[in-house]
Symmetry: C2
Subunit: 336 residues, 2 copies
Amino acid sequence: MPGTKKRGRQTVVFDTPPILSSWASIVGPKEGEGPWGNDFDLIMPDYLLGEETWEKAENKMLKQTIELALDKSGLNPQDAEVLLAGDLLNQLVSSNFAAAQLSIPFLGLYGACSTMVEAILTGSMLVDGGFYERVAAAACSHHYTAERQFRFPTEQGVQKPPSSQWTATAAGAVILESSGSGPRVTSATVGRVIDMGQTDANDMGSAMAPAAADTIRMHLQDLNRLPDYYDLIITGDLGKLGMAILGQLFVRDGVVPQPNYSDCGVLLYDGKQDIGSGGSGCGCAASMLCGPLLKKMFKAEIKKLLLVATGALMSPITSFQGSTIPAIAHAVAIEY
Amino acid sequence: MPGTKKRGRQTVVFDTPPILSSWASIVGPKEGEGPWGNDFDLIMPDYLLGEETWEKAENKMLKQTIELALDKSGLNPQDAEVLLAGDLLNQLVSSNFAAAQLSIPFLGLYGACSTMVEAILTGSMLVDGGFYERVAAAACSHHYTAERQFRFPTEQGVQKPPSSQWTATAAGAVILESSGSGPRVTSATVGRVIDMGQTDANDMGSAMAPAAADTIRMHLQDLNRLPDYYDLIITGDLGKLGMAILGQLFVRDGVVPQPNYSDCGVLLYDGKQDIGSGGSGCGCAASMLCGPLLKKMFKAEIKKLLLVATGALMSPITSFQGSTIPAIAHAVAIEY
């Protein structure tokens, strides 16, 4: 019966929660040097992976991450019935080329840094909706392809303010199945696009924090839950500044700041230099989920996780034209 | 029970086919002068709609189209539970700004000119899957925003080869509901990304024809249907050249060329000058569906329609780097 899985305004609850049967992550050299290096499947020796361009390297990184996630379950690309994926590049070229090489039916998603959660929640609806038994969901970003698309030629060496974030070179992929064992996607909250009038592309955390606050508040309200239902509530990549703003918004909204709250963008490079306010990019939340976080779930160190990936949705053209930066946040609850 | 709605390799069949309860289309001046001018809801008087930039005009066109589709059913934006939409612009700015203004929970999709069908098929899965009762699906393109993003500054007046296509200024939106009356989305085929090694961005029809052939062949095979099951099989925007190539691929694949086959890109500007091989852009198939085609279905002139929207997935950066143009085609069967 249609509509029976919806709770409140923006949240859906799965009848038969899709299983995360396997997952994989590949990260760049800088990400591998961070505190979670041992938790990723593969650390790239350099940013080119034997390719001629950073763009081709990003494509290869994503393709290999999806293959690795399938391989861990003894599967081939043709065993995945559909691939939901996205990246930061114009026209989703990294995902499109990977989908062409893997020959898996493909739905391209764009949610900026929120893409991994958009893929997991949409994929979970397609599995629980009875359409597929096995779906691949993936996202990636590459520091140097993003820099030259969104900001300045890397060679120019433009200085950045401390509020800016470092686009992660990273990819994550999960396999969602209708049955089996593993962590389960139990509910999801689709975000609204929130535009608070912020225009500084060097401070995406401030633009994204209100979207994260809105989605977390709606998720808890829709399911009538308190924040401490979760062992960990983790945002995608607000960075230090965005996290501080979200903390204030929690107070405003009556969501008491919780010791169980953290941010993938802050965690990814903890203690590293030159990353400004923290990590960002589709690959940030994707690799943190498909590396450290799911590893902790597998070891039962985290049993209930709310992953809230955030995306800033400006383009260089609209920023140049003085437009504001709309932002979005999608949430998935994963339980094991 | 998961997976029970899948047929063959790439097709899903809906248990309770979602209803297209209302729809709307807005087109630009050139599209309004074409043979279908009377079938669109609104023809823009110019390309700016009172805005300062073409980008803001595209955003406004999409927002108004979604509002108009809702209004025809007596609905407000808050009555739509989720919006699935996309456009051609980097980071989907037209869709993101529209989603921010409408405040509908949003899932951004990128399938280039195939986006409208990607939105309808994904939205149909979310409705039939039991997650939502009312979903909005929309797509748009604007000739002048696309020209300056993908090709050359409009003011430069670069000449184009006859194989090139004219990006339509157009938007289409549909409201999908779990119950009610209207044409029904009965099945859908998710396309694979096909890369035949074509590199000429001025000949997208040739790049996209093999993807259309692949999806149509899979759709017919998965459902064990002959092409004459449909009153009309219509591709998104292959243009004249792409249509001719698809005709040859039909012969190769044993899908006999049918009198019931046509192409939105060829039809949109029939008889107009300076449009090269035909129309293109997300708005081409979206406006043809939400104008002439659904009007014909409503009048029972077409009872069974297979809409196969095609997308060429190159970016200016990958084209500049000499990469090929991968392409995709998604199909939805609409019956009334």
